[in-house]
Amino acid sequence: MMKILVTVKEVAEVEDDFEIDGLGIDEAYLEYDLNEWDDYAVEEAVQIAEAGDDVEVVSVTIGPERSEETIRMALAKGADRAIRVWDDAFESVDLLDVAAKTRLLAAVVEKEDPDLVLTGVQAADDGFGATGVSVADEVGFEWAAVVNELDLDADGGVANVRRELEGGVEELTEVDLPAVLTIQTGINEPRYASLRGIRQAQRKEIAPMSLDDLGFDASALDSPIALTGMSEPESESDATLFEGDAEETAAQLAEVLREKGVGAQ
């Protein structure tokens, strides 16, 4: 019996045109969806479950009731059950920082005792990109970040992974289980939820967990980080359209690249 815990998050997606309202973006411009990286993490877990026998996939989220629809998508794609951590105390928190998420998720990991934890590399909205590794550190698991290929040897208790490093460099490494892997997009091709999967997901369990259930009080959400302002970054873009046949346009492109110093020693 093997257990995989997948952390998922509902992220806010902003429309092309939007307005900032104080420290946030007006709800009218937001749509909520499953974090893209987490979609790959769920797919990876479900593929492992389909390939092996007796693998349980549990997904966990920290989020308000609204996020049940998002986490249900993980259930529709094949997760067996889900946990949703929430509490009234969250309502008054502007920013849930990495340390707070780590405390909560680490407590869930300790309760569930999984062999493998898969997280997304980062969340598309607040983009800390640190939660997975931080949880591993807290619970004392091995870890590998930005994994874009995974070959699990469950019997040997080893995950053979390929990690994406900066500048196009990749690393092949072995990670002993139990481990936390943060999953990069492109590691697989996430499936569409089948309609039967969606229907069955309505009947799967999403267990609520409060701070109390995890052995905390509201102080677990305290953070030294405060959100003080929100603004749209100035962006500059410059597009050059080359015209002509392939030879001409290639020459023009080479000219520009040379000017910009690409390829210079």
Partner: protein, 380 residues
């Protein structure tokens, strides 16, 4: 009265929408231009359990309701009328009657492959000489021992050239009018004498094959009779009650697709120094497109919800089909206008919605016939 969809219905709609946008929208114009039935798309629809949405799970369907089926059909229409039409004909016309009127053996053999998406379905009522006056048909089925022998020609049969089974209406009791018609399950592959004689080139919906078929001494065992002899017309009326809801849903999808294209374009296109949506004439057009689309959807959902409650829906489905098909044509026409010269080109979708929408006022009973049905229902 609750106008909100359940979480399950919403999730299904959103998931189907995502699939449609990513997998169908990019090829929608291409398959039209090629006049190609995209079998690979239907295979994927089968894998996602979409081919038997309102069919019971016992026979490989999803076990969903008519409302769920309407939502799925609308999403298909929003990206491709042709795929939507072949889909709706498969489910409402070719599959659903087997579930409603078939024996367990017939369902096992004929419905299961349809509901799972292994096979496509078709339904053959119309003939060269009988369209709106559909019961006045010439196709005849004669009993010969424990077989029936079918002879005749059927016209404009969606999916016939790609179907695993075709439900054929034929006269078993000449002179009996409505009571002399029966339904037969015909296997295009196995049954000798069945031939697709024409696949029509059309104004739109060209990825959905519309066929003329000829039945020349087609001999089929008596187990292929669907329901009882003489029940064919009553079955037709029941089939169309559901079918018209799906055409209404498909039309709503076409309208929605056209409305979205126009809304987006009008916000981006600038003339005289401002987005064209800021001109009253264009704004009012887009608002009216929204109004008509929303109205079509409400009537469609109302008919579907009543259907699911087991109530009679002849009035509601005729009204939804009449209204939504007109809305689709009008909204699509206005979308072409909003896009100006670009709207007239194949690089933009409104012209395709416009071509596709026109059929919705013709198939499964013309608008004139819907008026006739509604007039009768109103006691006029």
């Amino acid at each position: 009265m609750d106008f909100e969809l359940s979480a399950e219905h919403r999730m299904i709609r959103d998931s189907v929408r995502e699939f449609c946008e990513e997998e169908i929208a990019p090829i929608a114009q291409e398959v039209e231009n090629e006049h190609r039935f995209p079998a690979e798309v239907f295979e994927e629809l089968g894998e996602l359990d979409m081919m038997g949405v309102p069919i019971s799970e016992e026979y490989g369907g999803l076990g969903g309701d008519q409302l769920m089926y309407a939502l799925v059909t609308e999403e298909l229409g929003r990206v491709s009328g042709g795929i939507g039409l072949s889909y709706a004909a498969h489910v409402s016309l070719g599959s659903k009657p087997i579930e409603m009127f078939g024996t367990d053996e017939q369902k096992e053999r004929w419905l299961t492959p349809l509901a799972s998406g292994e096979e496509m379905a078709a339904w053959a009522l119309t003939e060269p000489g009988s369209g709106s006056d559909a019961s006045d048909m010439d196709t005849i089925a004669e009993k010969d021992g424990d077989e029936y022998v079918l002879n005749g020609t059927k016209q404009f049969i969606t999916n016939a050239s790609v179907a695993g089974s075709v439900l054929v209406k034929a006269v078993t009791e000449p002179g009996e009018g409505y009571d002399g018609i029966s339904t037969f399950i015909v296997d295009p592959e196995e049954d000798d004498g069945f031939e697709v004689t024409t696949v029509w080139d059309k104004m739109g919906l060209n990825c959905s094959p519309t066929c003329e078929i000829s039945l020349d001494d087609v001999r089929i065992p008596e187990e292929r009779l669907l329901g009882e002899e003489g029940e064919g017309w009553k079955q037709t009326m029941k089939t169309l009650d559901g079918g018209r809801i799906s055409i209404a849903a498909l039309s709503t999808g076409l309208a929605q697709g056209a409305y979205e294209a126009a809304k987006q374009y009008s916000g981006e296109r600038e003339q005289f120094g401002q987005p064209i949506s800021k001109f009253d004439a264009i704004r009012d057009k887009v608002v009216d497109m929204y109004r008509k689309t929303e109205r079509a959807r409400l009537l469609t959902h109302k008919a579907a919800v009543r259907y699911d409650a087991g109530e009679r829906v002849s009035t509601e489905s005729a009204l939804a089909k009449l209204d939504a098909s007109e809305a689709a044509r009008e909204v699509a026409e206005d979308a072409v206008q909003v896009l100006g010269g670009y709207g007239y080109t194949e690089d933009f979708s409104p012209q395709r919605f416009y071509r596709d929408a026109k059929l919705m006022e013709i198939g499964e009973g013309t608008s004139e016939i819907q008026h006739l049905v509604l007039g009768r229902q109103l006691g006029l």
